[in-house]
Amino acid sequence: MRTRNLFLRWTLLLSLLVSVPAAGRSWLGAFFSPKATGISSVSSVGTGEAAFVQADLLLDMNGVYRAWNDSPGLQLRVAADYVIVRGALATGTTLSWMAGPGLMFGYVSDSDNVFGFSGSVTAGTSLMFDFLRKVGIVLSFSADMGLHYSRSDGHPIMRSYRNGYFRAYYPELRLLYQF
């Protein structure tokens, strides 16, 4: 319980740090995926909105939807997304294809269903629909490469975080409102 409280304090601090440098437009909304669900924020940075910063606070749903796991884990994800191609659709919607690196910290269960701390480097690609109605939809895929630390009978176990790349093909959807 003490470790969870400590973890919550750190995630709050990190999410504050992330929201400070954002200067342009920013969106807040919900994150939906078979792998996790939670709240998400996207902020534009740079001139001409050449890049975005995504910050997500998520419940890791590994095994929860299929009921072989009772409790969700917790993740904080921060990623940069650089615009590769941008175009306007006939309906006034702006479409941007983006890709970029990021970081993930979390207390999550791995594919063997054992909970532990994880720190990973992430890579992702996103498709952002920026509607005229102040609503944005981001469809994305991401993979995490990192380590997973758990304890078993008092012994520490450090392994690669396999769920990070096993679940890379799970789609992610963000529904965002621009403030």
């Binding site: 299929r66 309906t91 609503v135 529904l175």
Partner: protein, 201 residues
């Protein structure tokens, strides 16, 4: 299954000529989560010793289940639409089915603008093609935001009823009670569900 499938087919076939007369076809995906308000179990069955169990029980509980579904539908008038939904849904703890339902939606203004709508649906949940395991119903209301003329975002709040026959066990031998000893065994699960939908037309 045999009783419900012709009904669904008849509805779908009746909407086809409407689609040709200006009704527009749409596809949608919807997902959400619900919380159980109350489970009501009505039962009447014989134990192995010949003792009859007869009664009803109500369980209150905060079980949370999620669902996902895709749907194909047709706008049969500016304010009404019919859709066939199929997906994957948690009905109870450790109990998941593939629901197939038919939904009727009434838009208070129009199906292509911002506004409120009411909807109702009915159908069945399947374990496999031949094995119907749950009867499903839903009544709800929602708010539609037209992102563009072709992309619509819905927020939905609904009441979900599912009726099924849970397995019954003899308390002494812990063996399952065979169907010929069961006169009545219905579990009515009442749920409140919040969901989001994106539809494309």
């Amino acid at each position: 299954m045999r009783r419900i499938l012709p009904v669904i087919l008849a509805f779908l076939l009746s909407s086809l000529p409407l689609a040709g007369r200006g009704g527009k076809v749409f596809a949608a995906m919807e997902w959400g989560a619900g919380i159980t308000l109350a489970d009501i179990h009505l039962y009447n069955y014989l134990l192995e010793g010949g003792y009859r169990m007869n009664g009803s029980e109500v369980y209150f509980g905060g079980k949370i289940n999620a669902y996902w579904q895709g749907s194909i539908g047709c706008e049969i008038s500016p304010t009404w639409s019919l859709a066939l939904n199929a997906g994957y849904e948690g009905v109870d703890r450790q109990y998941r089915v593939y629901p197939v339902t038919l939904r009727a939606t009434h838009y208070l203004q129009s199906s292509t603008t911002d506004g409120w709508f009411l909807y109702g649906e009915g159908g069945a949940g399947f374990w496999s093609i031949s094995d119907i395991s749950v009867v499903l119903g839903r009544l709800g209301a929602g708010y539609r935001i037209a992102l563009t003329r072709h992309t619509l975002l819905d927020f939905l709040l609904s009441y979900r009823l599912s009726i099924r026959n849970p397995d019954l066990f003899d308390p002494d031998s812990t063996r399952q009670i065979p169907p010929e000893r069961i006169a009545l065994n219905h579990l009515y699960a009442n749920k409140l569900t919040l969901s989001v939908a994106l539809s494309f037309r």
